[in-house]
Structure formats: C-alpha cells, structure tokens
Amino acid sequence: MASDAVTKAGLSSSAGAQIETLRSRYPTARALLLPALHIVQKENSGWLPETAIEAVADYLELPASEVMGVVTFYDMYHERPVGRHRIRVCTNLSCMLRGSEEIMEALHTELGVEEGVVTSDGRCSFVHFECLGSCDTAPMMMVDDEYHENLTPESTARIVRELK
C-alpha cells in the first residue's frame, strides 16, 4: 500500500477517505465497489493485486470471491502489473477502417514489446481495445486518461517517445 496510514481492512487511509466521501451517494455499501476499485487501483500503480482486492472486500464487507468476480468482469481493472503509461488502441471497426492495425504495429515497433507486455523499464504497456467512442477522429488511442486522435504511425511513435 502506498500510504503508511492503513485502515482496519488494509486499505490506505487516503483510499478509505475517498471512499467515505462517496458513501452518502448510495443506499447500499456494495454500490461503492466500482468507485472503490477505481480509487484503489489508481493508488496501486494502475493495477489490483490480490491483497488490494481482499482489502476492498473487507472494507466494504463483501465476499472476496464476488469482488474478484467484479474485477475480472470489467476491462478497466487489471490483476497484473501494467506500464506506468497504459496505452489503449481502439481497433473496432471504425478505427480499423482508418488504419488502427498500423497504429498497433507502430506501437509494437516503437516499444519493442508484444501487446499486453510491460516494457523492461516499466514505462509503457499497450493493448488493443474495443470502441472508445472517438470514431470521427479515427484512428485513436488512449494514453492513461487522455485521448490522442487522428493518429498516423508517425504521430503515434512521437507521442509514445515523449512519455516519461
């Protein structure tokens, strides 16, 4: 855990505090699960180790199996380490029609790793993704929370090179 202060369930106190600010929004504690997983994942370098999943389960008093079921259901939760920068390339039809496969190739060439593999310096990992709702600016990719649109293989390489 990132923080030295830890809640009873093993979450950092800052994660606990962020979850608590949301509690009054929902009639059930369980509804906090998706937001809580987002918060904890962000704190854990973008992924959810088993200990973190268990801590969220304990904190919200839910069975760990069901929390794991939720984590594995959604594409945005990761059970394995990811790069410092997570690159998601939309490869659905609209982007495919506008060259997304060449963007994937460009990333492969630029980063020198296969899809889903973290670069040896821990800087990046890239994956193909389903439609990200930016079809008018295809092809596109999402780097962390930011959209990069109207890509070319050259601009893709440039964007990636600039990532710290």
Binding site: R25, Y26, P27, T28, R30, A31, L32, L33, L34, P35, L37, H38, L60, L62, E66, G69, V70, F73, Y74, D75, M76, Y77, R88, T91, N92, L93, S94, M96, L97, R98, G99, E102, E130, C131, L132, G133, S134, C135, D136, T137, A138, P139, M142, D145, E146, Y147, T152, P153
Partner: protein, 432 residues
C-alpha cells in the same frame, strides 16, 4: 440541407460549461418552466412529442416515464445511460463534454416528472474527461441552487451523481447497468420485473440515454407539436444526432431531422473518402445488420430501417467503401461481441464466440463449404433466445454478411483466401 441545430447548438460555445454561460444561452429555462407544471403534464407532453429513446432500442420515452408507479413509499431513481459503448457511437460524449448542463437539465426535468429525487449518470469508465466535465458542472449546478434540497427555489429536492463504469459494453443494457451501479458484474436481469417497478436498489427506476434526455427541455419550452414537426412521420420525430465514421471525408456528429437519407448524410460528410465507391453501410452501430450500397436512398429513421431488416439503433453510421472486405468487417464485429458477452446465457456465451471463430476462419481463407449454412442456423439459434439483446445484436453483422454479401463470403470460401487486394490505410495504397 438547412437545419437549425437544437441539441448541438451550444457545442462550439465554451461558455456553456458554466451555469452562467449556459443560462445566458437560454439554458435552464426548460427546467424553470417544468417546475411550475404538474409532473404528469410534462410526461404527457413528452409522450405527445413522440420522442423515442436515442440509445438504440427506440422505446417511446414518455411511455417509459408513465410506467413509474405514482406515490408509494419507495424512492425512485433516474439512471442516465451515458455508457456509450456501441461501436461507431460518439454523440453522447460530445454532448457531455461540450454541453454538460443540457444533460443535467434534461435529467432534472425527468426526475421532477417521475418523482425521482436521485439521479445517477452512469458514464462509461473510459470517458474520464467527460466525467470530469460533468462533475464540475454538477458542482456548479449545486452551487447555483439548481440541484440540491431546493431546486431553483421550488422545494423540489434532487441529488445528481456521476457514476463511472469500468469497461463493459453490456452495462449499456439497462438492467446490466443497474447491476453494475449496484456494485455487481453487469449481467442483465431476467425481466419481468421491469426497472420501472424493480430497478436500481429494488426501487422504481427510469433509464434514459443522454441524447434522449437532452431533447426534453426543448420539448418543454417549444412544445410537442414543434418536436413532431421534425422527422419522417408521427413515429419518427425530432432532431437526431448521426455519428458518422469510416470512409467519408469528414466523419463527425451531425444533427439532422430524423429520416435524412444515407446519401444525404454522406454528402453532408463531404462525400466518400478519396472519392471511392460506397460498398456497404451500417446504419445504427455494430448491432445493426449491414446493408449494401444499393440501399443508399433509405430514410435513416427507426421504422424505415426496421422494415429494411436493419435498425437505426444509436444512429452510429459506419460507411464502408469498395476496398473493404465485408468478411473482415463482420469478423471484427463478431470478435467484439464475443469479447463483450457477459457470459450468462448459453446461446450468447457460446454463439458469439463460435460466430467469431467461423467468420475468422472464413476471412483467413480456411472457411468450410458448410460454413454459410452454419452461420445461418447458428445465428437463428442466437436470435430471441437470451435474457438481453446482446445476442441479437451479435447476429446483426454476423447474419447480414452472409445474407447481404453472400457472393463475397462464398468467394472467400471457394478461393480459400480474401479476394480483395490487401489494403493498408497509411501505406501507399494497395498491396502490402
């Protein structure tokens, strides 16, 4: 085509990101007017307008509101479906990023009409920027007294929250969304009971799409008759956002009267990409059966497209030109549905995956002579046999490629290869 935008009128005015700027542009007049009306009167007006859901199913919006039981001691909820995930669709993101208060206003009017005092805007997890914009707009609205315990001084109490998804197409299905909101896997529920009776947290719930709700204030301020005057006919009314992508010169979100033809749409988008020929189009997102170029004159509304064996869906129009391999396009969409099936119903869990395998092998030149029949029968068995519509959605492209583009599929199987020259988009033209 001349059309004065309604839904997109503010999108190039960054001032509307604040309550003040939005008000200056005429915003929140619809809510103010609504709060002076009887709630039922608003529902009636929306019913009269003929507004149909813009999320995909096209269900009459006012009727949906009227299903919410009156009174009762359970809280009622509005869940705004901002889980825009249908491939090809990007219109709701535009509305949320550029005109968030129009959504907040629409949500508030709906809540007042059905007696809900809590609204969740369920936004897909990938839309982080839109979520930030909405969060900021909500804070502003609370500060301005537009939300909270006394909405615009009317005594009506309303809380509104952004709830982020985490990457699952199926959460756009309304009961999958409710499960997800409740902190579960987004597996659609068996209906009945319908959400209007047992929805979020076991309480009566309305679920409406972003674009649908953005129409509401205009119906209140300008009246149902005005709304009905736009569109093809009584059942296909109002302005419509068409999200056009693929092989056109200027892809984008275009607001047009319901029922514009495909050819008009292509023309508005600056024509076909590099002047190539139209081969096929998908009129309503990945779920909509693919139609051939010969149907370019079709009116893009709910009923005309349904009659033609496709659907308006989310009005995500994907344009495919002559260089496109239809099997490849269908295989890509099949892969999408296989990835997004929640996995609970047998025909969908197994069928989406099988369809992806079979279309994949045809595309790679390993198709079997029996694969056409297999696709037809398999998709038949996937139709109407599951809890939600994802299975039927997956059938859309998988079946239509075999039905509408039979020769091309046959050629793949017969020649054991893709008959089209391999295209690279960025490489120099053809062959790789």
């Amino acid at each position: 085509m001349k059309f004065e935008p309604v839904l997109l009128k503010n999108i190039n005015n960054p001032a509307v990101l604040t309550v003040k700027g939005y008000r200056d542009a005429g915003g929140y007049a619809g809510l103010a007017q609504s709060l002076k009306l009887e709630p039922d009167a608003i529902t009636e007006e929306v019913k009269k307008s003929g507004l149909r859901g813009r999320g995909g199913a096209g269900f009459p919006c006012g009727m949906k509101w009227s299903f919410i039981p009156k009174g009762g001691n359970k809280p009622k909820y509005l869940v705004c479906n901002a889980d825009e995930s249908e491939p090809g669709t990007f219109k709701d993101r535009l509305l949320m990023e550029r005109d968030p208060h129009s959504l907040i206003e629409g949500c508030a009017i709906c809540c007042y009409a059905v007696g809900a005092s809590t609204c969740y805007i369920y936004i897909r997890g990938e839309y982080t920027y839109a979520a930030d914009v909405l969060e900021a707009a909500l804070r502003d609205a609370y500060d301005a007294g537009i939300l909270g315990h006394n909405v615009m001084g009317s005594g009506f109490k309303l809380d509104m929250y952004v709830h982020r998804g985490a990457g699952a197409y199926i959460c756009g299905e309304e009961t999958g969304m409710l499960e997800s909101l409740e902190g579960k896997r987004g597996q659609p529920r068996v209906k009945p009971p319908f959400p209007a009776v047992v929805g979020a947290f076991g309480c009566p719930t309305v679920i409406n799409n972003v674009e649908t709700l953005c129409n509401v204030q205009h119906i209140v301020t300008r009246g149902a008759e005005w709304f009905k005057s736009i569109g093809t006919d009584e059942r296909n009314t109002g302005p419509k956002l068409y999200a056009v992508s693929g092989h056109v010169e200027r892809p984008g979100t275009y607001e047009l009267p319901m029922g514009v033809t495909l050819q008009e749409l292509i023309d508005i988008c600056g024509g076909m990409y590099k002047g190539r020929e139209l081969k096929a189009f998908i009129p309503g997102g990945a779920s909509a059966p693919m139609l051939p170029a010969t149907m370019r004159g079709i009116k893009m509304d709910f009923d005309t497209l349904a009659k033609a064996g496709s659907m308006l869906g989310s009005a995500a129009v994907m344009i495919l030109d002559e260089t496109t391999c239809m099997v490849r396009a269908a295989a890509r969409l099949a892969k999408f549905f296989a990835h997004e099936s929640c996995g609970q119903c047998t025909p969908c869990r197994e069928g989406t995956n099988w369809a992806a395998i079979v279309l994949g092998r045809i595309e790679k030149g390993h198709g079997l002579a029996t694969d056409m029949d297999l696709m037809l029968r398999m998709t038949q068995n996937m139709s109407g046999t599951t809890i939600c519509a994802l299975s039927d959605a997956a059938v859309g492209p998988a079946r239509s490629v075999v039905v509408n583009f039979r020769e091309e599929v046959e050629q793949h199987i017969k020649e054991q290869r893709c008959p089209l020259p391999q295209q690279r988009f960025f490489g120099n033209g053809a062959a790789n």
